[in-house]
Symmetry: C2
Subunit: 206 residues, 2 copies
């Protein structure tokens, strides 16, 4: 029985994450999700007691998926700029490589939940903090390696890095610009270039 | 009668834009908007025949508001880097200065409607194209003035510029980081710096 229970839950999470990537958090109601999974709303209710509970479970499912698709390949590289670069390349457009129909649920949530308080927002805040923490750690490793300057403002670097991801998401998924990835990689190369020890630029200093 | 008619429509648009900035397009249904304005759903229906029609009218209202709050002050500056900088400073966090409760409806729509086709998406695509056209024009003026290098890749510059806006929106409105504006202005200064005629950086070349 426990096995069947888990399989149904997994099926709900897989369908739900696909739906979430396409329609955003506000579109994932218990009714719509039940229809997508092909089960009754009361059947779904046995697994998740509220819309918030299902949204939080889907965000956690997304984190596990992104970890496998984006983070794990980067962690196989040696620490330093190589690892950071592999992470960037894996992060851009990762949902397509994860087999999802839509875009990044967290990127969408940053704009959907900016003015909407609650436990779903709190979950996204915590996820975003962990993610920026990982980016900071990989940036620090590239500094320790000597590829980035020792006095780099890590927070500023990560901040610009995140802007590059959001701009890629908007141009790739919304504007459907075929140049999106090339532009993102060029912006990343420029950010790294001015953060190198021998760069003449002073702007990323803290 | 025509005067009263217009006043009611204006009242709907003012309340609706405030609501839109807070809850996003999916939250602005005819029912919710009618309740916000304090009129019946059938009364609202006399002004707007569908959810799509009201959303498009609200996006156009937003464009008029942003034009007054962000674009007009920039256009009073002489063409060149001064005008471009004034535009950036006015663009960051413009909705608060426009008296709106929430964030930028177009920034949110770039993520909300990326996978949802229809006439509302088409309207946002057209608005975003006009906006990026204006950013390109002001960048061109700064090149003509000699403040930016003559072989600058304008599209890349504007692309990074838009990423900076999105990162500011996420860090200011979602993460509620008090450093958001300072980080955005530092990123803009760095982008301008490496786009100057005497910059040693090559990354923004086409």
């Amino acid at each position: 029985m426990a096995g069947t229970e888990q399989t149904t839950r997994e099926r709900i999470l897989a369908h739900g994450l696909d739906l979430l990537s396409e329609v955003g958090l506000s579109g994932v109601t218990l009714g719509v999700l039940a229809e997508n999974v092909g089960m009754s709303k009361s059947g779904l209710f046995a697994h998740f007691r509220s819309k918030d509970a299902v949204q939080i479970a889907l965000l956690q499912q997304m984190a596990r998926t992104a970890n496998a698709v984006v983070v794990a390949p980067a962690m196989q590289r040696p620490p330093g700029l190589a690892r950071l670069t592999t992470l960037v390349e894996g992060w851009l457009g990762w949902t397509t490589r994860a087999g999802l129909r839509g875009g990044c649920p967290v990127a969408a949530a940053l704009f959907e939940l900016d003015d909407v308080d609650g436990e779903v927002r709190d979950e996204v805040v915590a996820m975003e903090a962990r993610w920026r923490g990982l980016l900071s750690q990989l940036t620090r490793e590239a500094m320790d390696e000597g590829a980035l300057r020792p006095d780099l403002d890590i927070e500023q670097f990560v901040w610009e890095f995140c802007g590059l991801y959001l701009s890629h998401h908007a141009s790739h998924r919304f504007l459907r610009d075929p140049q999106a990835e090339a532009r993102a990689l060029r912006a990343f190369a420029a950010l790294v270039d001015r953060s190198r020890p021998n760069s003449s630029s002073k702007e990323t200093h803290s």
